[in-house]
């Protein structure tokens, strides 16, 4: 116990003395939190829309109005030629083309159904999906209106399209959703990289030689190494939470103590991985690349940027060993949903087990003699 304290004291002293380190700890997360939420927005604004209206009827004009009155669409032009519309998509002047065939109104009145065509620029599949979703919703909305008109009010009592109510994030504000995840990402990167580089640095400089001939036990050394970084992780989290609340107005529905509790358990796992990487590496470069590899993959499949539910099953399988996945899930639940300790218990357990395994591996991998 005493030895752990001695190592913690030494580490903190070294960290405080390292100016670049202080910059990494305080400036890097701040900048990340200022920039990333804006970059990671999935809200579509200003969809460039092109209209080809062969029908030119009151109904078709109503439909076009329906689009143009939406805040998301911006009609950039119209033509009577399919080819011209396509040319606009190819030259990137339009994202979306609405083509209304001739006789749409008549077909609606006589046959009770008609077709319109969407042409979507799908260079960015995600954007295309969103445009398609928005446009389909507008058509559906339009349908329910004309149904009343066309049937002369016969079906006015018919079940209307359901209205939506977005729970926990009523405005569907993307930042609200992203920021808790970014907080976890920040804490993970800082924690994983700093620990991964730390122990291997002692190997590179040679100070480990001197440590290895002292009576310090392996677990004391590993724990002594991880505590200061746990503290740094919590400082970064605090900084991030403050920024999130002050700048982005992100709600914190759950208990702040629970957030810190989750963060501590989570950091235990992340630092364990970092120290394990450090223990098996011989140089800082090696440690850096290994850490980078895992952080990249873990973040991309964690569900931070894209919903992990829509990933292939085998990838979802990997998420069961992805601490970042659990971390993001837990913090979103606590911050946005006000989840209680019992709500997140399964994830918390998983991360705790993860942490115990990672730390034990780190202790095992660190060899005082070869």
């Amino acid at each position: 116990m005493r030895n752990i304290f001695i190592i913690v004291k030494k580490e903190i002293r070294q960290i405080l003395r390292d100016k670049l380190m202080m910059l990494i700890i305080f400036v890097m997360p701040t900048l990340q939190l200022l920039i990333l939420p804006l970059a990671a927005t999935f809200e579509m604004k200003e969809i460039k829309m092109y209209v080809v209206d062969f029908d030119n009827s009151p109904t078709s004009r109503d439909l076009i109005n329906k689009f143009s009155s939406s805040p998301f669409y911006n009609i950039v032009g119209s033509a009577y030629s399919h080819r011209q519309a396509e040319a606009n998509i190819i030259s990137n002047k339009a994202d979306f083309v609405l083509e209304i065939p001739a006789n749409m109104e008549r077909e609606l009145q006589t046959l009770g159904a008609a077709k319109v065509q969407f042409v979507v620029n799908a260079i960015n599949g995600m954007v295309a999906g969103l445009i398609n979703g928005y446009s389909t919703a507008i058509i559906a909305d339009f349908n329910s209106e004309i149904r009343t008109e066309l049937t002369g009010g016969k079906y006015t009592n018919q079940l209307r399209a359901p209205t939506y109510s977005y729970w926990f994030n009523p405005q569907l504000d993307y930042k609200t959703y992203m920021i808790p995840g970014i907080l976890i990402m920040m804490v993970s990167i800082i924690g994983l990289f700093l620990t991964a580089m730390n122990m291997v640095r002692e190997k590179e400089i040679g100070t480990i030689e001197q440590i290895n001939v002292t009576p310090i036990r392996k677990y004391e050394f590993i724990i002594g190494k991880s505590l200061p970084f746990c503290l740094i992780g919590l400082v970064v989290l605090t900084l991030g939470l403050l920024l999130a609340m002050l700048i982005y107005d992100v709600p914190v529905l759950g208990s702040i103590w629970l957030i810190y509790g989750v963060a501590m358990v989570y950091l235990f796992a992340v630092l364990g991985i970092g120290l394990f990487i450090s223990a098996i590496s011989d140089t800082q470069q090696q440690a850096m690349f290994v850490a980078w590899f895992f952080v990249m993959i873990f973040i991309l499949i964690s569900g931070l940027f894209t919903p992990s539910e829509s990933m292939p099953d085998w990838l979802k399988g990997i998420n069961t060993v992805n601490p970042i996945y659990y971390g993001i899930k837990m913090i979103r639940m606590v911050m946005l949903k006000g989840a209680s300790f019992y709500d997140i218990l399964p994830e918390l357990k998983a991360v705790a087990i993860y942490g115990v395994c990672a730390m034990s591996l780190a202790v095992r991998a660190y060899r005082k003699r070869v």
Binding site: R2, Q14, E209, V213, P215, R369
Partner: protein
């Protein structure tokens, strides 16, 4: 105090130590002398419980370095060949760190390190990384001593240190004998052998000889002469080809030679031959062999 029995250690195909064995008695200042790559560091690291020998055993104060490593780590001071203290911590912080880790304080053992530490104490707030080579050495020795170890294992402490600091360092080691600390020190500098109580000469993982420096010098076979001439290069070539020369090695501005036949007539024949070959200003004088001469002879 330190017993080494039949220790072997290989790194892949390279055999660093071959059946090495010797003993160091309590309070002795023991030198392990040999060129780079002779296996000195491997042996020191085995004694310091940092690597395991492939075979053989070693013990310090009757405790096995493999089984009883925990006792050994508590009771030896080890100074690696490379400066291994925290460069971003101050001198005092380093010393304090190692003192507390061994469960002691600077104050408690100050008297032991005083002769060394007091020399650098005025700079105790300075970061270890900003110290000169000699000062680093003194700090490292202080840190290795701070827990009053029974034995000190010093791996090439004087490599890369200037001549004055080297002399000072050896003075300090001699001083430590008063405290009955057994010291084993490795060095590639043959001239430091004379400063040890006893030395072991090591080459390619083999111990060539273990004895007092005086006995090693006394055991030199043949009579050694130093010779020089104006053209030392040509002199070397001529002597090495000569049939009456047992051995010839450059040694500073002189060549150290041993005649096969040491009689004055035979010596005169060699000198005449050299003069006939155009050697000028030839100086020959009998000298006492030093450890390096012995080392070279043992290698032959």
């Amino acid at each position: 105090m330190i017993t080494i029995t039949n220790i072997s250690k290989s790194y892949g195909k390279v055999q660093a130590l071959k059946n090495v064995g010797f003993e160091v008695s309590r309070g002795e200042l023991f030198g392990l002398i040999g060129p780079d790559g002779a296996g000195k560091t491997s042996l020191m690291r085995i004694l310091a419980t940092l690597i395991l020998p492939d075979s053989g055993s070693a013990s310090i104060a009757g405790r096995d370095v493999v089984k009883d490593y925990r006792y050994i780590r508590n009771n030896i001071g080890y100074m690696p060949g490379r400066f291994s203290l925290y460069q971003d911590l101050s001198m005092e912080e380093n010393l304090q760190f190692f003192a507390t880790i061994f469960g002691t304080t600077i104050k408690e053992n100050y008297e032991l390190i005083k002769p060394i530490y007091s020399q650098i104490e005025p700079f105790k707030k300075r970061k270890a990384g900003a110290l000169s080579g000699g000062m680093k050495q003194k700090l490292a020795l202080s840190c290795a001593l701070i827990h009053r170890p029974e034995a000190l294992i010093l791996d090439e402490p004087t490599t890369g240190v200037d001549a004055v600091s080297r002399t000072e360092f050896w003075e300090m080691l001699k001083e430590l004998k008063r405290y009955d600390i057994t010291i084993i020190v490795s060095t590639p500098y043959m001239d430091e052998a004379g400063l040890c109580d006893r030395v072991a000469l090591i080459q390619s993982g083999n111990i060539l000889q273990v004895d007092t420096p005086q006995n090693i010098v006394n055991s030199y076979k043949g009579k050694l002469y130093a010779i020089k001439a104006q053209d030392i290069y040509q002199l070397n070539n001529l002597l090495r080809q000569h049939t009456n020369i047992e051995s010839c090695f450059t040694f500073g501005e002189f060549l150290h030679i041993v005649f096969k036949n040491d009689s004055s007539e035979q010596q005169a024949i060699v000198l005449d031959y050299l003069e006939n070959q155009g050697m000028k200003n030839i100086v020959v004088q009998p000298i006492n062999p030093n450890i390096e001469d012995c080392f070279i002879q043992l290698l032959q």
